[in-house]
Symmetry: C2
Subunit: 236 residues, 2 copies
């Protein structure tokens, strides 16, 4: 069904992503190893800037509804340049998802890593979600939640689903750790608590898409947090 030169294109894109960037982005000579200068005609656009534009487009309209011609327009490059630099539409999307994760979607991981208890991590996550999902300057809600629903490419849909479920699993293991440490009661249903948190995050994201303001989402988060036994409720 698809052309069979994909490997070729992917390889091209990969080299483009590593080496060619060094020529355009890193203006300071410096760099010790590897090729110091690229050979042929240099890229006429900044790869990261174009990637960010693609990110915003995918974030706003989703994977399917963002056509390649939409992408070339907002990235301000021709289709051949897009394919040379990023591979096909799907690998561009995958790269966008990676960048999104590190740039916009890392507050959950940070909360889980930095907060002392699961409850604190959830509290911080929900509060930060309220502000992140309504931030002006980029689309509302979470790309991972919305960008590949009802997608006719099942692999894309699954990859985002996996990310969502991995998030919930991370909450669950953090909660289990608190239960084991006696911070939470032994009878705590860690799986249900984690899933409740995931559902809240996803519901808040949907609400943000549907027009809810930051204050409204913060009020929702506040209510959702009241389900937690207060910190210090640890049993023996």
């Amino acid at each position: 069904m698809h052309p069979m030169v994909n490997d070729d294109a992917a390889a091209k894109a990969r080299t483009g992503s590593d080496a060619a960037n060094a020529g355009a982005a890193e203006k300071a000579a410096g760099g010790g190893k590897a090729r110091t200068k690229s050979r042929g005609r240099p890229r006429s656009f900044d790869r990261e800037t174009a990637l960010e534009k693609a990110l915003l487009a995918f974030w706003e309209h989703g994977y399917e509804a963002t056509s390649v011609s939409d992408l070339t327009r907002v990235m301000d490059i021709g289709a051949p340049s897009l394919y040379a630099a990023f591979g096909d539409k799907r690998s561009l999307f995958e790269e966008v998802v990676r960048v999104y994760g590190t740039r916009y979607g890392s507050f959950t991981d940070r909360a889980l890593a930095e907060e002392p208890t699961a409850r604190d991590a959830v509290e911080r996550t929900l509060r930060e979600a309220a502000t992140a999902y309504t931030q002006p300057g980029h689309p509302h809600g979470c790309l991972v939640v919305h960008a590949a629903t009802n997608c006719s490419t099942p692999e894309v849909e699954e990859s985002l689903r996996d990310r969502r479920n991995a998030n919930i699993a991370a909450f669950e293991s953090r909660i289990r750790a608190d239960v084991a440490a006696g911070v939470l009661p032994p009878a705590t249903d860690a799986a249900a608590l984690a899933r409740h948190t995931g559902a809240m995050i996803q519901g808040m994201s949907q609400q943000a898409r549907d027009g809810a303001s930051r204050e409204e989402l913060e009020a929702v988060a506040e209510i959702a947090l009241s389900i937690w036994p207060r910190t210090g409720t640890h049993t023996g």
Copy 2:
């Protein structure tokens, strides 16, 4: 951008939806008024059955990802028959949404109408959502939540968004009524409570799509319900 015979097509579909159905579906003569028999060649398929097939397809894949050729295949009719009976793709989808609302999505309205308090209505809604969203035999989750996200036809997206927000507004006014009646404390933030309920429903729907079981959703609902002041907490 579009052909301008849409009014024509819509008119055709409308008559088809009313009269032509009487010929095929109502086998008992009976019916008092109106035309007793249709004139031309009778429809070769059952309109309601075909509509149900379309409903399931839209429910599973969403508005955009379900192509007309997908529809004609699952409905087992030709494209001209589809257009004659239902108008264009969008009016078919709108009819599907109406049918979905009465057949699968009415549990919220019923709970709001039949339960004595807002809290009871929300409790019943969340519990029924857990079972409805994981029912075998049809796609999981809620069509209204998922079928028109990231839709390149803004009107379709908005029409479902309006339904979601109307649902939340219904919760809010029911909560306000309880506050006014002294069933809930006067300080109750009705808007936030309603939005929290909406977010839970939408989050549970997403969870159902992502593979959560009925039992898992029921546990989530249970947790979500614990935010409510117990029934009988009314102040003076």
